[in-house]
Structure formats: C-alpha cells, structure tokens
C-alpha cells in the first residue's frame, strides 16, 4: 500500500500536465491578479481571486485528471493486472486519491502563501471554516471524478466528460466570473453544484464568515452520494 502510494506520487510528478494544472496554474493566477489588482483595500472581490485559483486547480484535478488516469488504468488493463496479485485494485485507486489529496493540499497552501506573502491578499479570515471547506471540497470534487471514471469506458472519454463537467462547473459555480456579476438564475443553479458550493464556501471563510449550511451540505451530499454511486458502478475491466 505504501509502495503503491510512493509510485503513484512519482508517476504524478512525472506527468508535466498534472503539475502544470494543479500547481503552476493556480499560483500563476493568484500572482497575475495580485499584480493587476494590488489588493489590500478589503473589498469583497478580493476573496474571489485566491479562491478562484484554488477552485480552478482542484476542479481540474478532481474532475479531469483523476478520472482520466483511472479510466486509462482500466483501459490499459493495469487494474486487471492488479487483480491478479494479492493486492486488490481498489488499493491502486486509493493510492491515487491519497496522492491527489496531497497535491490539492500543496496547491492550496501555495496559493495562500504566495497570495498573502508576495501579493498582499488578506489571509483566510476563519481558518477552521477554511479547512473544513477545503476538506469537503476535495472530497466532493474527487467523488465527481470517481463517478466520471465509473461511467467513462476509456481514458479519452473520461477526459472529454471531465473537461465538459469542469467548464460548466466554473461558469455556473462563479469561478470563471464572480458570482456577484452572474445572472441570478445561473448563480442559483451554481449553489447546488459541488464546485459552486466549494467556491462560495471558500470566499465566505476567506472573508472570515462561516459558510452557508447549504454549501457545506451540497459538498457533503455529493461527496457521500457520488462515492457510493461509483462504488456500485465502477468496473475493474
């Protein structure tokens, strides 16, 4: 199990696209807007940029990278090969989730550190609320990825579904544009999407408030429901 995690970590680091999307892109976004905005005025919009940077990185990781890798592993018979060893292939998926969570944590920490230290964004106002939001957000986004991996017959199809889900999510979720400037209808739908709930809860905790129960609830329900659903639907070959 530990060896599996170690090698999944190595493989993740060897995939340049993965590091680019999960680490470089979010830090780049927070740096870019740090330069453009020169934050520090305490405007509500200032919570948008670091939150959006985190949501973009984690959304891509959970909805796109994880399902592509998992469906690819099934397509190439890697899961099947595992089934022929004493270790169940579920351990391989578990290792991927652990590695994904580790990178999500590093991505989040880098965005906060770079945004706050180098560009003058305010730090998250409520650390417990922020951490709870992060944990629920990672779990719900990974659960979406697991479900995509369960449905998609191949790695390429998983990538296609993942990218589509991701783009719809960032528009409705107030990640592409701040929720303040979205039409009410789109914002209302976004409340019930995992990425939208994650984004809103991130911004609330960044502003020092406790996130709305609705948003925490949406993330929890998606995390649990989609995980159970994929456990039922996942095919090993």
């Amino acid at each position: 199990m530990t060896a599996l995690t170690k090698y999944e970590l190595k493989l993740f680091l060897r995939d340049p696209a993965a590091t680019l999307i999960v680490l470089v892109l979010p830090v780049g976004i927070v740096a870019l807007f740090g330069v453009v905005m020169s934050p520090g005025g305490g405007d509500a919009i200032e919570t948008f940029f670091p939150s959006a940077a985190i949501a973009l990185g984690l959304g891509q990781l959970g909805m796109n990278l994880l399902p592509s890798t998992m469906a690819g592993y099934r397509e190439k018979g890697i899961l099947r090969r595992m089934a022929g060893t004493p270790v169940h292939p579920a351990a391989l998926l578990g290792a991927q989730l652990v590695v994904g969570a580790l990178f999500a944590l590093v991505s989040m920490a880098l965005v906060v550190a770079v945004g706050v230290v180098a560009f003058g964004f305010g730090p998250p106002g409520s650390i417990p609320a922020f951490l709870l939001t992060f944990v629920l957000g990672v779990m719900s986004l990974f659960a979406v990825g697991l479900l995509v991996a369960s449905i998609a017959p191949s790695g390429r199809v998983a990538t296609g579904i993942g990218v589509a889900v991701f783009f719809v999510s960032i528009v409705f979720g107030g990640v592409f544009m701040p929720v303040e400037s979205l039409p009410a209808f789109i914002a209302d739908v976004g409340d019930f999407t995992p990425l939208g709930a994650f984004m809103r809860a991130l911004r609330a905790s960044w502003a020092g408030a406790w996130p709305e129960p609705l948003h925490l609830g949406v993330m929890a329900v998606v995390a649990l429901g989609f995980s159970l659903l994929s456990a039922k639907m996942f095919r090993w070959e």
Binding site: A3, Y7, K76, G77, R81, T85, P86
Partner: protein, 319 residues
C-alpha cells in the same frame, strides 16, 4: 503432486456459454498448454483457475485451495500474466519490479531477476520505451517476483516477432527448470509442440483431447506421407503389399505413399531391394497444426467425429 484440479467447469456470460464442460489436472513441474481456436473458452478457463472469475458450476482446486473462496491466499502463491494488461507508461523497469515485490510476503530478489533475464541494462527505462520482447520479458519477471509455485501465462508471445518468440520459449523453459509449474495459454501450435509436456485442446467450451503433443498428433493424424520420384519404373504392388502402407498414388513420375508406423523405413527398404533410387524424397511429418485442425475443424458443423474427440459434439456459438 497435483497442482491444478478442475472438474466439470462451466461458465456462462448471459446467454453465451463460454465454458461448457472442462475437466483437467496439472501435475507439479509440468508445462501444461491450453490450445483452442479464438473464443473456445481458454481465457475464461484460466481466469476461473486464477480465481478472477467465479465458476457457475464445477469444482476447482489450485495448490489445495478453492480459487474463488481463497483467492487472495492463492494469488500470493501464483504468478499471473494476463492477456493485454500493461503497467503505467512512465514506470521504470526496476520500479515495476520493486512495486510488485511489495505485494508479496516472500518476494524474490528482483535485482537477481533483472540479471538472470538480461534486462539489467534496461533497469531505468520507462515501460513505454521497451520493445515488445522486453515488455514480455518484464511481464514474466513480474509474474515471478513473488516466488510463485505456479505461473499462468496467457497468450504471452502474441504480437512478438519470431525471434523474440523463440527467446521467450527459452525463458519459459528456464522457469520450469526452476521448479515452477507452468500453465500456458496459446494459439501457436509450434509453441505448444516445443514447450508443453501435455496439451489440452478445447473447442466451443469443451475438452476435445488431452495428451502429449506427439500423442495428440498420432491420435489425430496417424497418417504419414512419403513422396519421391523413382529412378526406374515402379510396380505399385511392391508398395501396396507392405503392412505400413494404406494408399499409393502415382501422378506422372511422382509417387506418393500414405501409411503409418515406420513408413519411411519400409518404403526405402523395398526400393533398395529392387535397386530403385528414390529421388526428391520427401517425408511429410504431421505437425500439431494438422492434429489441431483434425481435432477442431469438424466440430462447428456438428459431425463431431474427429479421432480422440470426447463424446458428442456440442454446437455452442463462438464469442
């Protein structure tokens, strides 16, 4: 000691009967081959032996264990090479070995495995950069890394060039020399003939014959043929009088003699006694190929009368 004992195995996928009724047993130290046309049920049979699929009916015992109920314990003691199963592209050779050895309680020293199998120079090469033959070599090593008592190799040499295939055969013989029992699924007759102590031919989910390769050949295609051009006119009766000869045909100057037993010796002795020289002498030894065709070819049409065939042909659709 019996390593694998399968009785009346049956496996269906919905309306399709993949394995109808298969029984066989494999002894310790054997290289046992499973031969059959595409869709005959070879892979399904070995997947039941490995515990990866649950049999619908029949009893299986592998290394004294029930493959389905004791799957995990069994897979600690066997090594499996599955058809079309890869490893991640960017994983290096030594990493794949190190990772797989972590799955077992008493793994072999994979460093020595690398030397023994001549892949030490490719130690740091990612899987995707290996040639087809090197990949197969790595797959065998991965099947061996847990010090198994039994290895199952499914279509191991499919897609390899002839040289790489021959190299792989030598490696499999070395595995057996190390005391490991080998279950080999193949559709290459030459491979089965060269490697296997015994071969089971299955067709449409049923056992057609189990025997040594030479036993299968003499059962299925007992007839040999000798062809030559006599140096002098030849009286047909000289040959038809021989007990070994069943048929003689002459076309132009060519003579073709069919028969069994020590046909060649009988024919050449007669010719020598009559001072006839046989020019362009050719002996057609039937191969496992011929035996396989004889054993399986007639079955889909329901005649089922091949020599050595089990009772009654059953016509199951091929997958």
């Amino acid at each position: 000691m019996t390593v694998i004992d399968v009785r009346n195995l049956r496996k269906e996928y919905g309306p399709h009967v993949a394995v109808d009724d298969v029984s066989f047993s494999v002894e310790h130290g054997e290289i046992f081959g499973i031969l059959g046309p595409n869709g005959a049920g070879k892979t399904t049979t070995v997947e039941c032996v490995e515990g990866l699929r649950r049999a619908d009916a029949g009893t299986l015992e592998v290394l004294g264990l029930d493959p389905h109920a004791d799957g995990k314990r069994l897979r600690r003691r066997i090594g499996i090479q599955l058809q079309e199963s890869q490893i991640p592209e960017r994983l290096k050779v030594w990493e794949a070995l190190d990772l797989h050895s972590s799955f077992y309680d008493t793994p072999t020293d994979w460093g020595r495995l690398l030397d023994d199998w001549g892949l030490a120079a490719k130690r740091d090469t990612p899987f995707a950069k290996l040639s087809g033959g090197q990949k197969q070599r790595l797959f065998i090593m991965l099947a061996l890394v847990g010090s198994p008592e039994l290895v199952v190799l499914d279509e191991l040499t499919t897609g390899l060039d002839p040289q790489a295939r021959r190299d792989t055969w030598e490696l499999i013989e070395r595995v057996r020399a190390g005391g490991v029992t080998v279950l080999l699924v193949t559709h290459f007759m030459e491979e089965a003939e060269r490697l296997c102590d015994r071969v089971m031919v299955i067709d449409a989910g049923r056992v057609v014959a189990v025997d040594s390769p030479s036993g299968l050949i003499s059962r299925a295609v007992p007839e040999q043929r000798v062809r030559f051009r006599p140096s002098a006119p030849l009286d047909e009766r000289l040959l038809t009088g021989l007990p070994e000869v069943t048929r003689v045909s002459m076309t132009g100057t060519r003579v073709e003699v069919s028969g069994n037993g020590d046909l060649l010796h009988a024919v050449t002795s007669v010719l020598a006694r009559h001072r006839i020289v046989a020019a362009d002498l050719r002996v057609d030894q039937p191969s496992l190929d011929d035996a396989f065709v004889a054993l399986t070819a007639s079955r889909p049409h329901g005649s089922g009368g091949s020599p050595g065939a089990s009772e009654g042909a059953s016509d199951h659709r091929r997958g």
